[in-house]
């Protein structure tokens, strides 16, 4: 099937629109993640600063820049993360919430949703040009139907956006290898990726190796220097330049502040994370964390098809498509650069798949190629017995593709809205993941699911408030109250022992290292009996306790 450029564009952007809508619908059921609050609040201030600058309300002032984007402390004004996507969150908040009346949290999350749609479109555009329409459509749909990625795209955080910006850089780089005179696009997109998340610094490892291979192939040692040298210059010059332009804090001391930014991440504290039954909070981590986690968090059919696709790429490498630009090699290196650091045993593993999500487009593209290759191979076998009419050919390929996509869809629908507790069918779903001792969740967003239960225990208006011990949901509590999901008579009780002591209700978000919250509550409330346990596919994710009138003395 040959499609005109216009039709390709219509289909690609339609996929993007559907994806964006799917994310926006999905996010309505997802609670606020702990760090998301920080990104939303800082993003609003960054946007205000930029809007103030372009509307000439203020100039460029070092003190004001520091107060908005920097500061002496390592986490002042969230300076440990670059501002590009946060600024988009802030602008979206102004436009969608203040301007159009969209609810506040959804407004902050719109850019992530749009960028996720963009990712699907870019995957479609690249694949349709290289391998064909069927492969492109399947690849795009499989990116859309990644359960964990859909969850992350539903938050105002960086993990889904960096997946998009990473892939956008790969796509732009591949396009710019066509010999164009001014390949500025790749530098700009790479700069925006750097201004999204520090993990973009891994991209040059993939691009440099790929560039070395294709340029050596094109012109030997001489080619290493002269083949598409403008692309390398664009990446090396425009990339950092765009990062600096997008981040006013760097204007004050580019080298020093970049060093501070990266030092924060190289010295980052290791958060607790459960993996295969053990709580990990210090290196050395098992080398297989990224591989096993990916094995359990990407739909099995997608992974299986990706194995077929990768095998096809390797087997047919001599006569591969677009051999001069070696796109399959580029995609493989992109995935390797993203996931590779987690094989070292020293890279922090908390957050798991969200940190190597840029590997996922490669998996989905390989899957798209694999599905179509496998279906065509089966078709040839059938036709060796009896030729089929074109509609039956189409039905054969469509049938295999539909089943693979449907399996991913079923996993994705099942996973939401507690996708961090979900594991694929190979792991046995959420219960299987719990049996295996895989991480239950993080960031506390599942607390949203117990808000109706807490609201039922709220005192009537005018009665004394009943403070709630919320631990990791604490940063989100203000938004939940503001959104009206909780009555004002259920304020946050505060942190740790003092918070528990002050509270009348308490919740525990179940992670292995959060068991201590249960024990603090038992001791203070004099009971081990929760009044409610929220479950994802039967697996406990949040418990709610209520202080009784006459607690027993403990310990």
């Amino acid at each position: 099937m040959t499609l005109s450029v216009a039709r390709r564009r219509i289909i690609g952007w339609s996929l993007a629109l559907v994806t964006t809508i799917a994310v926006l619908v999905n996010q309505r059921e997802i609670g606020i993640a702990r760090d998301e609050v920080v990104y939303m609040q800082n993003g609003a201030r960054y946007a205000d600063w930029w809007i103030g600058l372009v509307t000439l309300q203020h100039g460029i002032d070092a003190t004001q820049i520091t107060r908005t984007f920097g500061g002496p402390g390592a986490t002042d004004n969230n300076r440990e993360h670059p501002p590009f996507v946060k600024t988009l969150f802030g602008i979206s908040h102004r436009v969608a919430h203040r301007g159009l009346g969209v609810d506040e949290v959804s407004a902050y999350r719109v850019p992530s949703a749009v960028l996720h749609g963009l990712l699907v479109a870019l995957v479609f555009f690249m694949v349709v040009e290289l391998w064909g329409f069927a492969e492109a459509l399947i690849s795009g749909l499989l990116v859309m139907l990644l359960p964990r990625a859909l969850f992350h795209a539903s938050l105002a955080c960086f993990d889904a956006p960096i997946m998009t910006m990473w892939f956008a850089t790969v796509y732009a780089y591949w396009r710019c290898l066509d010999g164009r005179r001014w390949p500025w696009q790749v530098g700009v997109v790479f700069g925006l990726a750097l201004a999204t998340k520090h993990t973009a610094f891994l991209l040059p490892f993939a691009l440099a190796l790929h560039y070395a291979i294709v340029s050596y192939r094109a012109g030997g040692w001489r080619g290493l220097v002269l083949h598409r040298w403008r692309v390398a210059i664009s990446l090396a010059v425009l990339g950092p330049l765009i990062l600096i332009v997008a981040w006013p804090w760097l204007w004050l001391d580019p080298i020093g502040h970049i060093r501070q930014w990266l030092t924060f991440h190289t010295d980052h504290v290791h958060y607790n994370f459960e993996y295969l039954g053990r709580n990990w909070n210090a290196p050395r981590f098992p080398w297989h964390v990224a591989l096993i986690t990916t094995l359990f968090t990407v739909p099995v059919s997608t992974l299986s098809a990706a194995v077929v696709g990768a095998w096809v790429w390797i087997k047919q490498r001599a006569q591969s498509v677009d051999r001069a630009r070696a796109p399959a090699l580029l995609l493989g290196l992109s995935a390797a650069a993203s996931i590779g650091p987690f094989l070292l045993g020293t890279t922090p593993i908390f957050g798991a798949e969200k940190h190597w999500m840029p590997a996922l487009p490669t998996i989905c593209i390989a899957a798209g190629v694999g599905v179509v290759w496998a279906a065509r191979a089966a078709l040839r076998f059938v036709e060796s017995w009896r030729p089929l009419a074109p509609r039956w050919q189409l039905a054969t390929i469509g049938g295999v593709a539909t089943l693979v996509v449907l399996a991913a869809a079923v996993e994705t629908v099942t996973a939401q809205p507690y996708a961090l507790s979900w594991y694929n069918a190979l792991a046995g779903g959420a219960p299987g993941g719990a049996d295996l001792g895989m991480n239950r969740q993080f960031w506390g967003s599942s607390a949203r699911g117990v808000l109706p239960v807490l609201a039922e225990h709220a005192p009537p208006a005018g009665a004394p408030p009943r403070p709630v011990y919320t631990h990791d949901a604490s940063p989100a509590w203000g938004y939940y109250l503001k959104q009206g999901r909780l009555p004002r008579t259920l304020p946050d009780a505060g942190w740790e022992q003092a918070g528990v002591a002050k509270s009348q209700l308490a919740l525990v978000i179940h992670e292995r290292h959060f068991n201590r919250h249960d024990f603090m509550i038992w001791k203070s409330y004099g009971t081990v009996k929760p009044i409610f346990v929220l479950r994802a596919a039967g697996v406990p994710i949040v418990s709610v306790y209520q202080r009784s009138a006459s607690p027993r003395v403990s310990p």
Binding site: A407, P431, V528, P540
Partner: protein
């Protein structure tokens, strides 16, 4: 660009074509299995109605002092939701299960609680996925529990000691928590402790965050009548470690000596929270 249904390869032998069609068949089988397995997994855990039926059966046969346990460990909150009123704090934060003669185990997915390991059920029932088993065995007879006598203990060496409900190895334990000064052991002495034929105890490092921040073990030594009879080095990932020493029935001074190494003569180091519990058993 290739097209749907387009055969791009030259004609090949049918056997080879047959082999090449295996991936498609596998993908179809895997996808169908995944669709079914995903839905099955999502509904495979017993619901509240099943738990309520099992809980009713427990309540019908429950006697005060019976231990109630749940398996696997991750379903514990659901078990406590239905039967938590029958689980006092002391039981939830027990040293071990030896003093309980009757144990009710509610389990799902074929799991067993470590507390019933090696025991044969006296009775068992099935309640829509919740397996209820009752175990009966002669309980350990406790002559003295050091935690109950903590108020009379003598603490020496400059460290702190308190009775806590602490997290040790991610499990709750009611224990004596000692925070020794680095390089200077803290002694907790129980004078004239009644003992039977065995002193059984457990030790572990409390608090996940101090386990992360200070990655050296803590040591607990047991001294009876002036002689060290046991020494346990509890590492950060060791959990709740058992120790046992034979004793001669009577009364005797028992001292628990907790210590942690000093890493640097000048730099301060995080507290090492060494938690222990011990029972003198007949």
């Amino acid at each position: 660009m290739s097209a749907i249904g387009e055969a791009t390869s030259p004609p090949a032998p049918r056997r080879k074509l047959g082999l090449a069609s295996i991936p498609a068949a596998l993908l179809v089988v895997i996808a169908v299995w995944e669709i079914a397995a995903t839905r099955c997994a999502a509904t495979s855990v017993p619901d509240d109605a099943a738990w309520e039926r099992a809980a009713r059966a427990v309540r019908a046969g429950y006697r005060p002092g019976d231990l109630i346990v749940f398996a696997p460990e991750w379903v514990d909150p659901v078990g406590r939701l239905h039967l938590g009123d029958l689980i006092p704090l002391e039981m939830a934060a027990r040293m071990d299960a030896a003093r309980y003669g009757r144990i009710w185990e509610l389990s799902i997915r074929g799991a067993r609680s470590p507390d019933t390991r090696g025991l044969t059920p006296a009775a068992s029932e099935h309640h829509d996925g919740v397996e209820l088993r009752r175990y009966e065995r002669p309980p350990a007879v406790v002559v003295a529990d050091v935690r109950d006598r903590f108020g009379a203990a003598r603490i020496e060496g400059g460290g702190r000691a308190s009775l806590e409900l602490a997290e040790v190895g991610f499990a709750p334990h009611r224990c004596i928590q000692v925070v020794p000064r680095p390089g200077a052991p803290t002694r907790v002495t129980f004078a004239q402790l009644p003992v039977g034929s065995e002193l059984v105890g457990y030790v572990g490092i409390a608090d996940v965050f101090t386990r992360r921040d200070l990655r050296i073990p803590g040591t607990l030594e047991v001294e009876i009548a002036g002689k060290i009879v046991a020494s346990v080095s509890a590492g950060i990932d060791d959990g709740w470690l058992r120790f046992a020493v034979p004793t001669t029935p009577g009364t005797v001074d028992v001292t628990f000596i907790a210590s942690v190494a000093r890493l640097s003569p000048t730099k301060p180091q995080p507290d090492r929270l060494i938690c222990f519990a011990a029972e003198a058993r007949r």
